[in-house]
Symmetry: C2
Subunit: 292 residues, 2 copies
DNA sequence: CGATTAATTGACCGACTTCAAGACATGTGG
DNA sequence: CCACATGTCTTGAAGTCGGTCAATTAATCG
């Protein structure tokens, strides 16, 4: 199942797609070399289980390519995906060592593998690495908080919009001259559903609804044409107003924009109006205010 | 609003209720003294806002007494509480510095306050503190993951049971000779509702339903008599996680035993029947299997 | 190609939200 | 001590979103 690829030690990072994002992007070159030295490259196919929910992972990894999911099951056998790990992110070190959650490859993946304790030993010696690690933890926590918030008080429709908007930053997205772009959804419907706390049926219905109202176009189940990313993000409650997003945003930009929604005062004012409607309800037919 | 209490430096930890739990419990005495030296004690009343959602907190704190909540609002003004902080926990350092989330006192609180950077400087010098801090982060992440999972695929009823079971560990709980005990719910209904992603009405209805079936008894809105913690935990689905020892007594026991009422095996069997029912649905009227 | 899996679409219905009003406690001032 | 206000909690009735079940179509792969 697991193939080890013995690329030349030095060449590793040069060809790593994750080099520019996530943890590695934050490290100075000398340190990066030392980190690379301690690891080896591994790849495994889609749906491979990196570790089971009741087993402590014996290693740490930095994801090169592909996507991981972190599921937890209910007693009835239903599944909630607690996070999707994207290229450049680190897994297993400190954050993911609690039982109850497995780790599986959504797609075929390639990653840098550090044996047990290796990474921690490095971090103990290198303050720079430690700080980068802490920032990674914060990002993970941040994303998880967003998901919690979203599951708590957004509709599936809003969640899907938010998901798609973020996918434009974290998954293959090819901009077209007219401002739209093609998003390759690397994650199957079922996984999206289980991440967003809904069902595949609902996901299907919603994507088609978004198509009806002209937000997206479904070319095939895995490829959407996105017409208006900002509007998607807005419906998804990500960030009402983005200051100056230069093109080619990069992951960091999303994360930053994520929390910076609006001031407390503004929010309080709106709440005081007692208007219970969605800020940008979709014509399609979600609750919205409609009647009155 | 904020009262500073100038207790004698040395005496601080001796009288701190949080001394035995959370971060401080993990530190060696000498280090603890150094940590205490760097802080001062502050208290503030219920509903005081420690910081706003769009403001970076200028300090770090270890909670002595009382409870904090971490809310995030939707655009319509609805609120999701992303975490409840209990005595002994640390806030503001690294984990809570992202915008979008405020921090408010649920009850009157007392805490150890470290000025900006003070704590981080300490952690940079003290590996022990760093490790303890990391463990704290993991716990926070763990709880948040549980909440995410719960919001994703538990019913409000199950969530409430889980919440009550955990409250028996984190809030004043007085055991009675007959095996039951009195739980003082320090958190108002509205906060519980916003934590569990439901409404105060539903919380009210559910507590009364739990009373009807004899799981709890409502003495007054803030005090419940808990008859069977294990069963509560089970209904709440709290078993899969935390085989980790060294936890406070009680919750670890959930995994064993479970009495004659119903075992996991039985439940699994039911699930296998493709019965879509709740694992321990209550007579009150939740789904149940019924038809077939 | 047939066979298996993924995605779609439709019909049904029930748990929860919403809206609204009443009960209950607590506090304030006259 | 009562009247009144305020806030928390409770209870009822109605409406609906989204889950479940089921059946069809599309994609994928030996």
């Amino acid at each position: 199942m697991v193939t080890e690829c013995m690329a030349g030690r030095g060449a590793k990072c040069a060809v790593c797609p994750g080099r520019q994002s996530g943890l590695c992007a934050e490290l100075p070159k000398a340190l990066l070399a030392r980190v690379a030295e301690a690891s080896r490259i591994v790849e495994c196919p889609a749906n491979h289980r990196l570790w089971d929910e009741d087993v402590q992972p014996g290693f740490t990894a930095i994801l090169w390519r592909g996507y991981l999911r972190m599921p937890r099951y209910s007693l009835e056998g239903r599944r909630q995906i607690v996070s999707i790990i994207c290229p450049g992110e680190i897994v297993g070190e400190g954050v993911d060592t609690r039982p109850g959650y497995g780790m599986e490859a959504v797609t075929a993946v390639t990653f840098c593998r550090f044996e047990r304790g290796e990474f921690r030993r490095l971090a103990d010696r290198e303050p720079e690495l430690r700080r980068a690690l802490l920032r990674q933890h914060m990002k993970r926590l941040e994303v998880l908080r967003w998901l919690t918030w979203s599951l708590g008080l957004q509709t599936p429709e809003e969640r899907l919009c938010a998901f798609l908007a973020r996918a434009c930053e974290t998954m293959p997205y090819q901009p077209l001259p007219d401002g739209s772009g093609i998003l390759s959804l690397e994650v199957p419907r079922a996984d999206v559903a289980d991440l967003l706390g809904t069902t595949k049926e609902t996901i299907s219905r919603l994507t088609h609804r978004l198509q009806q109202i002209g937000l997206i176009e479904i070319r095939d189940p895995r490829h959407f044409r996105i017409f208006d990313r900002e509007r998607l993000a807005k419906v998804g409650g990500l960030s009402p107003a983005r200051p100056n997003s230069s093109e080619r945003p990069g992951i960091a930009a999303v994360r930053r924009g994520l929390g910076a929604s609006e001031g407390a005062a503004q929010r309080a004012a709106r709440a005081a109006l007692s208007g219970p409607s969605l800020p940008m309800s979709l014509p399609g037919g979600s609750a919205a205010v409609a009647s009155s």
